[in-house]
């Protein structure tokens, strides 16, 4: 029963519009591939390491195929052909291409049947490793258990992975359930994934496979000690979305930020590129049992939170539909929203509560990711602590899935070790003290909270129908999200997008589609 008396027909209308939007995007996506998707195929096959200039081997090989003019057929065909022709491993083939002793485009081509047979065989083995990681997570969760929702999510961002480990373990001991390692500024715009353990980043730490491994081991260790599984989070968004999703699957990350729209609007990444990348990356997240986090909360940093509430909801609907088309179950959809209204508003708390409760009711099974006040945080840390407290109240009252804790020093620096402690202590206090408060209250049928939710839902439905009419890509270019305008051919990374050739082949996509039950959905 809806506490906000939301009209189920209106919700259904909004969902249908979002579904149509997602369908038309999906047909656009499925005609294309990108350099990042092809590098991901190689990474999933286990290709790793860098050449003499520190260029990752998947980049070396994909660039080589691009120069040879064959990338639109998919990297797998040529690399698997080389496996058959030379008897070497995929890693060795990467190394040979890097040192210039092997040209994949000049090798005679074995029969496609043979290539595909070998490709599926090796891909199946790779996917088994990911499946095993998933089983291991489940095993941890049954044996160690986990904290109650809202999960307490905090970030570490020292720039040095080893120092991040210290801060992360401390946070886990203090009560954190999810540790997110924020990436260094600018990483989302580099068209390769840096290699190895890194100790110098700005505002964050580079996402590398080795860094993932180091943090995973540390959190498993502290989790064992304190008897609670600690989830690890990192970021897919950017020019390497699917590659980072693959690294996350291989190193057993649990939560990953994954939102093309974030890249489009806030990093000026080309929309064609990142939508194609997103689709494959979400399939990988889905199979790996990763909870994705979407970035709707960010809209409220460039536009007004009261006005943009319908766009946030509209975007959640679209993200839900796109996620379903990547095989992602609702239980893994950490749809984003935030407590970002100006603290100067009278009754602002009511509007925030309304929005959060509405999202909870419309996406009942999604572990909603609730973001704290950021834009209206100031150098006044004392007031900031109170702003965060109101946010924590809404989080527990409306049963959010993931509470990204606010830091009272938000406007100043990435968290110091005790900023995090103060935040965790306060959140635990509010969550415990108010644990069942949400169940005790009902909202006045003709009150402000109910009226606000109905108005936002109504506007979101209208907005979605408008987007369906003009098309999603056109809606973005008109600035309908976050007041930011982006065009089809603008932004970074378009040169890495290709139309798929007739005989395009991506064995992981094929296998994952079957695994995730997507064949049934395709028409």
């Amino acid at each position: 029963m809806s506490k906000l008396y939301l009209d189920p027909n209106l919700i259904a209308r909004a969902r249908t519009a979002a579904s149509d939007i997602a369908d038309s995007l999906q047909s656009f996506i499925l005609e294309r591939t990108t350099v990042a998707v092809e590098r991901t195929v190689l990474r999933l096959y286990g290709m790793d390491g860098v050449d003499a200039d520190y260029v990752p081997l998947p980049n070396v090989v994909v660039d080589h195929l691009k120069e040879g003019g064959v990338l639109e057929r998919g990297a797998a065909t040529f690399v698997l052909n080389a496996v058959l022709q030379t008897g070497r491993t995929i890693q060795e083939i990467g190394e040979a291409v890097a040192d210039g002793t092997l040209n994949l485009c000049e090798l005679p081509l074995a029969s496609l049947d043979e290539i595909r047979k070998k490709g599926i065989e090796l891909a199946t083995a790779s996917l088994e490793r990911i499946r095993a990681n998933r089983a291991k997570r489940d095993e941890y969760l049954t044996r160690l258990g986990e904290g109650p929702q809202p999960y307490i999510y905090v970030i570490v961002a020292t720039g040095n992975i080893y120092e991040d480990v210290v801060q992360a373990k401390a946070a886990a001991r203090q009560g954190a359930d999810i540790i997110a390692v924020i990436r260094s500024t600018g990483q989302s715009l580099i068209d390769y994934v840096p290699y190895g353990a890194t100790t110098e980043g700005f505002g964050g730490t580079y996402a590398t496979q080795e860094n993932f491994k180091i943090m995973r081991a540390a959190l498993d260790e502290v989790g064992e000690e304190i008897g609670r599984y600690i989830r690890l989070c990192n970021y897919c968004s950017g020019l390497c979305m699917p590659e980072i999703a693959a690294m996350g699957a291989i190193e057993r990350l649990d939560v990953m930020l994954n939102d093309a729209l974030y890249g489009i609007l806030f990093r000026d990444i080309n929309m064609q590129r990142t939508l194609v990348d997103q689709n494959f990356s979400r399939m990988i997240n889905s199979f790996a049992g990763v909870i994705i986090n979407t970035g709707e909360d960010n809209y409220l940093t460039t536009a007004d939170a009261v006005e943009q509430a319908p766009s946030v909801l509209a975007s959640q609907f679209i993200n839900e539909q796109l996620a379903l088309r990547s095989g992602l179950p609702e239980e893994q959809m950490g749809l984003g929203h935030a407590f970002e209204m100006s603290p100067d508003l009278e009754d602002g708390f009511l509007l925030e509560l309304s929005q959060a409760q509405m999202a909870r009711e419309i996406f009942p099974r999604a572990p909603l990711k609730y973001m704290p006040p950021t834009k209206h945080m100031t150098g006044n840390i004392f007031k900031g602590h109170v702003q965060d407290t109101l946010f924590n109240m809404v989080g527990v009252m409306t049963n959010q899935g993931i509470q990204l804790l606010g830091m009272m020093t938000e406007a100043i620096h990435t968290p110091l070790i005790h900023d995090r402690h103060i935040a965790i202590e306060a959140a635990k206090y509010v969550f415990k003290n108010m644990r069942n408060f949400g169940e005790e209250i009902e909202y006045k049928r003709d009150g402000k909270i109910v009226a606000r939710a109905q108005e936002v839902l109504n506007d979101a439905a209208a907005k979605l129908e408008e987007i369906r009419d003009i098309g999603m890509l056109e809606a973005i270019s008109r600035g309908m999200f976050a007041d930011v305008k982006r065009t089809m051919t603008g932004g970074k990374g378009l040169h890495g997008v290709f139309m798929r050739a007739e005989d395009y082949w991506n064995p992981f996509e094929t296998l994952l589609r079957a695994e995730l039950g997507l064949e049934a959905m395709a028409r």
Partner: protein, 258 residues
């Protein structure tokens, strides 16, 4: 000492000796909090007290400590200081041109330059924060003040975020800019310093530095830092378009840039 001076000492306060105030005039009370890389306990508290004493505080009192795990301890302290500053001698580098209104600025440009002036701006380097520079430049402005794009006598070009210094310089040449506005929001580990300094070098290499007004801004940017880095001015939190525009037009006048 008169009765009043004894009971209300703040009324004739000595501005050459100013120290913090809690609840008794001149008590020097300060609150502090920090973490130490040691496990919690009596020793941690004593370490905190000794540290604070070394900092020049007296009567330190640890009111709270908390185990952060991994052998770190958070402490909260109160202490007093005997230090004092001579407030009459304080000098702060400030942008000192008077602030004009939207109308005054446009009029000033028309009268003194007889042409539109060109201002380009961006958030540079790897920094993707646009809200600050948008607040200054975009039509709709910020906090009730229009942005520079709205000024009839200003051609304002907001290049957005993540703009490379090289591109900034190329644009300045292409558009014959009178002023460049640079925003820097990410300042972690001083990432903004080399980036800001590089722009000055590039402009100098092109022989452009003296021909235009160069300004930086952001939440952690001050006028003093800007001067140190070779900028003409720096603007911090709460800046609005007229603050910047007033400075630009008056500085152009002063420097004879017509």
């Amino acid at each position: 000492m008169s009765e009043a001076a004894r009971y209300e000492p703040w009324k004739n306060r000595d501005m050459t000796h100013v120290r913090p105030y809690g609840d008794t005039f001149d008590d020097g009370v300060v609150q502090l909090s920090f973490s130490l890389p040691v496990p919690p306990g009596e020793e941690a508290a004593e370490a905190a007290r000794q540290l604070v004493t070394q900092m020049g505080f007296v009567e330190p009192s640890v009111t709270h400590q908390h185990d952060l795990g991994e052998d770190f301890t958070f402490v909260v302290l109160y202490a007093k200081t005997k230090a004092a500053v001579d407030f009459t001698k304080i000098k702060v580098a400030k942008v000192d041109s008077p602030r004009m209104s939207f109308y005054e600025i446009n009029e000033f440009i028309e009268e003194n330059f007889g042409r539109k002036i060109t201002i380009i701006g961006a958030c540079t380097g790897t920094d993707a924060h646009t809200v600050g520079i948008d607040a200054i430049m975009n039509m709709k402005g910020y906090n009730g003040e229009y942005g520079l794009e709205r000024y009839p006598m200003i051609d304002a070009y907001n290049l957005g975020a993540q703009v490379e210094n090289e591109e900034m310089v190329a644009k300045a040449i292409e558009l014959n800019a009178d002023a460049i506005l640079v925003s820097q929001v990410v300042t972690q580990k001083d990432v903004h310093i080399p980036n800001l300094a590089q722009l000055v070098e590039l402009l100098e290499a092109e022989g452009l530095r003296e021909k235009l007004i160069l300004i930086c801004g952001g939440p952690r940017i001050g006028h003093e830092l800007a001067l140190e880095l070779g900028y003409d001015a720096g603007f911090g939190p709460g800046t609005l378009a007229p603050d910047v525009a007033s400075y630009v037009v008056q500085e152009m006048m002063k420097r004879g840039l017509k």
